[in-house]
């Protein structure tokens, strides 16, 4: 375990898409989530320090603090004073649904995408439909934000 | 372009012209004060020639006062060609370079040479006209205040040399400004070089025009001065005596390897060793040692020739500096 070693190389590097319209803190949260989902980050891994993130991607330190706080609230990370912020076991603080349910949803979505493809929709078309339905159906978000706060892809 | 040149330099040029005007006023006041003090009939009246009368003392003190003021004006005239020239000349290129505005100017379709020529011509002409205008005034002032015209120090404040000095100082400031690229240091350097150049030229001024020699016959010299030699009206008295001394008969200058004073001691020893009437002793020594006394001097009639020659020297130097400035500006790259 290199968890206590503050000087160790950061395991992930954040990047920001300033054109996406997605708030920066949300991008950071999403990137940690993806990394965890893809197995890039595992329990006990240290997230880059706020200073590292700030100087890497020139971002407001408060934004990084906020993203990490959000991850903590979501139970994905844990701040250890003086050491840093660490990825914790999922489920510890609730959050994501059971994985078997996720698998079913994924299978459903895949078949829907295949249907859309045979109906002649290209990737953009699929994305637009997906985004529009996300917009209209209120998701029970962890943050309890209003629907229009959700991300919106734009050209 | 002319407007541009004027717009960037008008403050300096106007201040310089103002300073020249102040000097002109100063010249009129001091010259007139001296003239009126010196023309007081009291000074030549018998009361003053025989001794001191009450009014006479007053007249003399007035003359002394006027003379002091003439002295201050003299100092100003001595200093102003350098100050006016350098202060107007130095910023012409240097201040543009210091502010980087030359990069703007030289990126336009006007060539650098033309840009420089217009700027130099405009302010150069302005101060030349201003200084040129007081040259006649200086001649009047020198006459009114009865300063000698040929002697060093007096020669420098009258005639066309004043204009020559100004143009030289102006181009010196401009050239050093273009080379040093800093106004302050260019001014300091230019003033130093100007003083050096003036002193150097002054050291050979006497030979810019061939001097005249007076040969005194029969050993007559300082050991027995001929009456009238230095009287007020003699050309010698009004001229500028450069050298004098015993030299070999047939020569008007010391023999090679000798100075004007080499033979004096020999002649004096001879003179003192002969116990005969003075004139005879002098004559005998002159024949015996084959020496005669020569006084070399510049007569007043050479005044304008000397003025012309020295002005030409400084104007020529200014032209060389013009070339240097043009070269520096044309070759300038950051």
């Amino acid at each position: 375990m290199d968890t206590g070693n503050g000087s160790s190389e950061a395991l992930i590097r954040f990047r920001l898409d300033s054109r996406s319209g997605v708030p920066a803190y949300r991008q950071l949260v999403d990137q940690v989530r993806h990394a965890v989902a893809l197995g890039v980050l595992r329990t006990g891994d240290r997230l880059p320090s706020v200073r590292e993130v700030v100087t890497q991607i020139t971002i407001n330190p408060n934004t990084v603090h906020r993203a990490y706080r959000e991850l903590e609230v979501a139970g994905l990370a844990e701040g250890r004073p003086g050491l840093g912020t660490f990825v914790v076991e999922r489920g510890k603080g609730g959050g994501h649904g059971p994985s078997e349910q996720q698998g079913a949803l994924l299978a459903e979505l895949r078949s829907w995408v295949a249907k859309a493809g045979s109906a002649g929709l290209d990737i953009e078309g699929v994305q637009a439909l997906f985004a529009a339905s996300l917009d209209e159906v209120a998701m029970p978000g962890e943050t309890g934000e209003t629907p229009h706060d959700e991300k919106r892809g734009r050209q | 372009m002319t407007w541009f040149a004027w717009r960037t330099q008008r403050l300096q040029v106007l201040v310089a012209i103002g300073a020249v005007a102040v000097i002109a006023v100063m010249l009129v006041i001091t010259g007139e004060a001296y003239r009126s003090a010196a023309s007081s009939p009291l000074l030549t009246s018998p009361s003053c020639s025989t001794g001191l009368s009450l009014n006479c003392a007053n007249a003399f003190s007035r003359l002394g006062q006027a003379n002091r003021w003439v002295g201050y004006a003299h100092g100003l005239v001595l200093a102003f060609p350098a100050l006016v020239g350098v202060l107007v000349g130095a910023p012409i290129v240097a201040s543009e370079m210091a502010h980087g505005t030359n990069r703007l100017a030289w990126a336009q379709s006007v060539s650098r040479t033309r840009w420089l020529a217009v700027k130099l011509l405009l302010s150069g002409l302005a101060i030349a006209v201003a200084v040129g205008a007081i040259v006649p005034l200086l001649a009047w002032w020198a006459g009114a205040s009865q300063i000698s015209r040929l002697y060093p120090g007096d020669f420098d404040v009258t005639g066309t040399v004043v204009l020559g000095y100004t143009l030289f100082a102006f181009m010196l400031g401009a050239a050093l400004g273009a080379v040093i690229q800093r106004v302050g240091w260019a001014i300091a350097a230019a003033l130093g070089v100007f003083v050096g150049a003036r002193l150097w030229v002054e050291s050979f001024r006497a030979h810019l025009v061939a001097p005249v020699s007076v040969v005194l016959p029969n050993g007559i010299g300082p050991l027995y001065s001929a009456t009238g030699l230095f009287s007020v009206d003699s050309p010698l008295a009004r001229g500028w005596v450069l050298n004098q001394g015993y030299v070999a008969l047939g020569r008007t200058t010391p023999a090679p390897g000798q100075t004007w004073t080499t033979e004096f001691e020999r002649f004096q020893n001879c003179f003192l060793s002969i116990s005969r009437p003075r004139a005879e002793a002098l004559s005998q020594c002159s024949a015996q040692l084959k020496l005669h006394y020569v006084i070399q001097y510049q007569p007043l009639s050479h005044y304008w020739a000397l003025q012309g020659a020295e002005s030409a020297v400084f104007v020529g130097a200014a032209l060389i500096l013009l070339g240097v400035t043009v070269l520096a500006v044309r070759r300038w790259r950051t």
């Binding site: - | 025989t50 001794g51 001191l52 009450l54 001595l78 106004v183 130093g192 004007w260 004096f264």
Partner: protein, 341 residues
């Protein structure tokens, strides 16, 4: 901060000191030449060779240009070093850096002024011992006389400090180094001239000389007849003579509301015009003059400053200029403290 003050003006300070050193060397050289030329002449007396006379005239030629330079030197040094203190910073915008640091503006300014001011005063003051020797070597004349007074003693340090502060103040007001110097020159010259011509004579109690040769006594020599109306005792030769004339007996100057010429004019009206004529006529005129002086109750008074007042006047004039410099310092501090864009 002292280091910054030095570093910021290093080039100018060194240049000025070097220039003064070069001039001092020149002064020593030309002064030595002139001194030995004078010595040679004073030894040969009546029988001076042209060699000695030529040497003297060529060496002595430099005396008055040198004195001219010395007259303006403190002013030039002071203005050149003083004007950039604030103006240069404002020109370069660096004041916006310096004045937003923790150090106070007053502290910043006073340190800069102190460092450059000490150099300015030191450069001028270091010349003073040399000048004391030089003025004697080139026979400048009594040092109480105005032109000599101004280039000897320590008053030049006062001039330098005054010019320095004048430059600093003008620089902080005009905010341009060049124009500050240009504006400073006439102001400095005016201040110097005003003090020298109007004020200096009264910086120490004026000494008066009354009487001396009986007025109107006649001096007869084989070739001429002179009548000494204004006695000129040789004792006054080394003094700085201020005013002279006939004033009412008991007074050492003109009575209130009168000038020095009042007495001259009254006496002149009484004696009538100077006569042309032989000795007898002149003797009559002399008696008439004596009679007039007595009946008008006048006596001859000469006002002067004796050489013994030299240091007293030096101190007073130096104090005057240093005091003015302090006032200018206060104004400069005020201007700098108030500076806002």
């Amino acid at each position: 901060m002292t280091w910054l003050a030095w570093r910021g003006q290093r080039a100018q300070l060194v240049a000025i000191v070097a220039a003064v050193a070069v001039f001092a060397g020149w002064l020593a050289l030309s002064g030595t030449a002139d001194q030995s030329a004078w010595l040679a002449v004073s030894h040969c007396g009546q029988h001076c060779s042209p060699l000695a006379l030529n040497r003297l005239s060529s060496a002595d030629y430099w005396t008055s240009p040198n004195r001219l330079v010395l007259t303006f030197l403190p002013g030039v040094i002071g203005l050149v070093l003083g004007a950039p203190i604030v103006a240069r910073e404002i020109e370069a915008g660096t004041n916006r850096f310096a004045w937003t640091q923790t150090i106070g503006r007053t502290h910043w300014l006073v340190t800069k002024l102190l460092v450059a001011g000490i150099v300015a005063a030191g450069a001028v003051g270091a010349l003073d011992p040399l000048l004391a020797w030089w003025t004697g070597a080139v026979r400048n004349g009594p040092r109480i006389l105005p032109m000599v007074f101004s280039v000897t003693g320590f008053v030049d340090v006062g001039y330098a400090l005054f010019a320095f502060m004048l430059g600093a103040l003008l620089g902080s007001v005009i905010r341009r180094t060049g124009w500050a110097i240009v504006a400073g020159v006439p102001l400095f010259v005016a201040a110097r001239a005003w003090v020298q011509f109007s004020l200096r004579a009264h910086l120490a109690p004026v000494a008066t000389f009354a009487g001396g040769l009986p007025a109107g006594s006649m001096i007869v020599t084989p070739s001429s007849v002179s009548i000494a109306y204004a006695p000129e005792p040789s004792a006054l030769m080394n003094d700085w003579q201020l005013n002279q004339g006939y004033v009412p007996v008991g007074l050492h100057g003109p009575a209130a509301g009168q000038t020095w010429s009042t007495g001259w004019n009254a006496l002149n009206r009484c004696t009538g015009p100077f006569p042309n004529g032989n000795l007898q006529v002149l003797e009559q005129y002399q008696r008439r003059t004596q009679h007039c002086i007595a009946s008008l109750k006048l006596h001859y008074v000469q006002q002067y400053q004796p050489p013994s007042h030299y240091w007293r006047i030096q101190t007073a004039e130096t104090a005057l200029f240093v005091g003015a410099a302090l006032v200018l310092l206060g104004l400069t501090v005020f201007v700098v403290r108030r500076w806002r864009t």
